[in-house]
Symmetry: C2
Subunit: 212 residues, 2 copies
DNA sequence: GTCTATACAATGATAGAC
DNA sequence: GTCTATCATTGTATAGAC
């Protein structure tokens, strides 16, 4: 990974190759129009090339689409590989992990939006691509984080599972908000505040079971 | 609303009209293939009709797509109109509201999946349709619920906002799970458990700030 | 209201020259 | 590796009969 400026999907510096120009045009169009509504003609036009160039490098429309998804996942995976060192209380570890992810996602919002659209999009409208595995890996990682942070017997596996889900729910919401309504976004500070709410409990935070 | 069996998007009983058959075929195909990847030919074939029938009833491909979205939103809005009566503690009110929404969504999972795909889908791939307003309305409703349930001064508006977001985050996660991985879904009971976690706080629930 | 038949543009993909 | 030129197919939409 030496010399590789990672953390963003920005171009590789230097004069972009035809392949890179096609990828850039593709990610742009697939993000804004989706797979089916994007034509090969549009991609090559934006890249300043012609159709045979695309078919030479990627073989098909499916080909460039899948290549783009792999490229995005590769970038995220590279950054996530550095997350191994987390210490402190569970709360400290969770905060650090989620802040890292939040920053990573915020710096690549359009890529995250793309993956989200693929994840929730209709199954038959585009070539199948497995995002479940990565997603599942993240869930299991948080679950393990919780399980490892409590002494044996203090928490059932089911309780650790629930806690991990609640944490992920809070995190997902802050990212979703940043994607769907950047103007309502709560930012890093908001993420920390919401996590605090979960750790301390709504009942304990500012009021005690008041009746309306 | 007399005689109207609401709560689901099932057909209206009796022999379905051409219009209803087209709508049913459309929602099915738009859900599984998406807007752009679905052709008018496919829709009319599945409905057992021909193209001019569709153009007679809906004017265009955009037309039937928008008619479907309106139909779905109308069904949800009709059910949500009954939510005005909530009493008890904040926790009781939130639980009742979210359980109602959870049941409603679970009974119409494919419709919810459709709306989700539209919401997160690429903006240029299909006709624009405003889901933000409904979404915003729900957020404001929960926010108001929180604000109304604490005595004046016990909680700043900002704190009420944060609490509402945390609650919505938990709820959204349970619905997302049900949609994306029904086999991991936590169900109604899981929703209640996760809300309990948020109200009581992770720290209080089963462990006290343990260090790993 | 629903059909048959068709207009006409756009699509994904390729052959073959350079 | 990248081009010009072209293929067969499919797309949305409509005219006109019944």
């Amino acid at each position: 990974m030496a010399g590789r400026k990672n953390g963003t999907l920005a171009d590789e510096g230097n004069a972009p190759s035809a392949r890179q120009k096609l990828l850039a045009a593709g990610i742009d169009l697939f993000t804004t129009r989706g797979y089916s509504a994007t034509s090969v003609r549009e991609i090559v036009e934006r890249a300043g090339l012609t159709k045979p160039a695309l078919y030479y490098h990627f073989g098909s429309k499916d080909g460039i689409y899948l290549a783009i998804l792999q490229e995005i996942e590769r970038t995220f995976a590279a950054t996530l590989a550095d997350v191994d060192t987390l210490h402190g209380t569970l709360r400290e570890k969770v905060e650090r992990l989620f802040l890292m992810l939040f920053d990573l996602f915020e710096q690549n919002l359009s890529a995250v939006r793309f993956l989200t659209a693929v994840f929730w999009g209709p199954p038959g409208g585009a070539p199948r691509y497995d995002l479940e595995t990565t997603h599942r890996r993240l869930v299991l990682f948080v679950q393990q984080l919780v399980a490892d942070s409590v002494p044996d017997g203090a928490m059932t596996p089911a309780a650790a599972h629930d806690s991990a889900l609640a944490l992920i729910g809070i995190f997902s919401l802050t990212v979703d908000l940043e994607m769907a309504h950047p103007e309502w976004g709560v930012g890093r500070e908001g993420l920390i505040r919401l996590l605090g709410l979960l750790f301390e409990g709504l009942d304990q935070t500012s009021f005690k079971e008041n009746i309306s």
